[in-house]
Amino acid sequence: MNQPASAYFIEERHDPNETHTLAVLVQNEPGVLARVIGLFSGRGYNIESLTVSETEAQKHLSRITIVTTGTPMVIAQIKNQLDRMIPVYQVVDMTQTRRSIERELAMVKVRGQGEHRVEALRLADAFRARVIDATTESFVFEITGNTDKINQFIDLMRPLGLVEVSRTGVAAIGRGPEGM
């Protein structure tokens, strides 16, 4: 192909994409989530998972956990762009510190009878999923774990009568005694 004539078409870096989990501590005020999400859509970054909740009510602090993918340069950009927002206190790359635990909760509804039903229960047991609702023809399982484990469980449930899934998205925290 010929050399393109526009500077806009030459961003041909072939660095491999990485997946990072970012913990963002923000002032809990109107519009703060919109700012964060707007940054991602406006600058073309990916969001694979996003969770947000107030974590310290007295101080009006919320914690946003974002799982994103990009080249190392893009990941660094995302962190810097987040960090310069006025209501953002701190951005921690949980993946880079390599000392973090990530968990996600899913509720998985499975419908079936006979052998399928028994098999679903057996697998749920193996995955340490709890039954939180049951009828004669269905279960709702609650499962907690990292994203891979939940994906694997859902894949196994598919042939056994998977109806629907509700997931919380990833929450992450650092190991050891220190805070963020």
Partner: protein, 591 residues
Amino acid sequence: MSDKSHDPNQMTGAAMIVRALIDHGVTDIFGYPGGAVLPIYDEIFQQSEVQHILVRHEQGAGHAAEGYARSTGKPGVALVTSGPGATNMVTPLTDALMDSIPLVCISGQVPTHLIGNDAFQECDTVGITRPCTKHNWLVRDVNDLAKVLHEAFYVATSGRPGPVLVDVPKDVQFATGTYHPPRKSDVHRSYAPRVKGDATQIRKAVSLLANAKRPVIYSGGGVINSGPEATKLLRELVEFTGFPITSTLMGLGAYPASGKNWLGMLGMHGTYEANMTMHDCDVMLCVGARFDDRITGRVDAFSPNSKKIHIDIDPSSINKNIRVDVPIIGDCGNILGDILQVFKAEAKKPDIKSWWQQIAQWRARNSLYYKKSNDVILPQHAIQSLFEATRGRDTYITTEVGQHQMWAAQFYGFEEPHRWMTSGGLGTMGYGLPAAVGVQVAHPDSLVIDIAGDASVQMTMQEMSTAVQYELPIKIFILNNQYMGMVRQWQQLLHGNRLSHSYSEALPDFVKLAEAYGAVGLQVHKPGDLDGAIKEMISVKRPVLFDCRVAALENCFPMIPSGKAHNEMLLPEQANDEATAKAFAGGKALV
């Protein structure tokens, strides 16, 4: 009567707004009234400390405030109503965000109980302006208003400056609450821009600079934003090291154009010597610039063999487009001071005589050459004449966007910062005329000239009426080639000379138009009449529309074809049909 009624800090939201403006030293604001800001206009009417300039369109208020800010270093303030008033501000806010201009916009909003009801002149102002401001606020409680206003001024002017917007519902303007003067606790604790540079990084930078064989300093608008100290230190650094210096469009004036180390502007329409120096250097010191795509050209071929030092107050500017070796985050004035100190104390300046010899060879190519004519005015010649006629005067230049803007940057020599107001990042046609209004308000006795194009100037022409009303003697110097020249240039170079909608048909008679506004119109066709007409323009103490008829098909060179490297510049003498066809081969993608 309760005690509270005697408290001088008890006042309406509208009164708080005017009071906060006064407390922040604001003397002039630009605005347009409407239903949702009437309480504020009522307060403005009853005082005389803040002068209000009535524009003709809210976009004009925004650009005027930008011009005011850029020419003074103080924040510009705009006041607009809800709905269309706010949406008309989107362009200036975005413009100010791209160019890091401190701008405080106060917008009216429908009363809080109507928000979300699709009320008359309602729009989601904070939603719409969120991506085009540094920060914005919707104030729902009058007791939060003072804090928010003070924080707005702080955010706009500190760190990397930028536009902010405060949206104030009408019932909050009417409500009474407690005002307090600015105090530290008004600002988010999460906002603390870094000012001082890291000492280790500064040492690394000095060591690179001291061992450079082919160094270059590349400065940008950040130096000007940092203030007079940064400009002084930049000049001192150049003087001390003897290094060559180039600058972005936004940074012109930080180092004087008459300085002996000046290479001219760099980038797409920069000089050959500036771009070749950037390409071949071994150490690059970037101060307050951001490696924009108009600067770098092709990123993977950008200055391939250099170690790069990048000083920027915004960490997100580091490694955004170009990977750098020594990033230093902080205020560039502060860091330049540290670099100079360490350099003088611990290092010897390198011998770069042979580098200057090389640069002299590039300079000798005379990349800004153009062929003068006795029959028709060349636009470059017009700018040079304007420069000569205003040299040594107290002059401020604004521009619109397009060929005339690039020629102004190439041919008008700026000696001081804050003298050059142009829309760099966003490239807003229609910026220059209202910006000139703002500059003239800030500097009533100075000569303020908008170097304009015939297409751009029509985008905000209505502000001539503002200039006439307030007796602001701005000069609108129109390089009239009857084309959207830069669009046409790209069509000629990239789109097979198919000049799709780039011809300005049915242009107004600018002289009559000026007269219709109550301004002065001048027109010149012949090179021989140019100097006299410019003299007349300067001597008239009223707003002037100067219709300078220039060679219609002249194009702007030198030029780095977009997507090419710095050493693949197209020089004017090479820009014949065959060479341009070759340089632009393979693409039709218009930028």
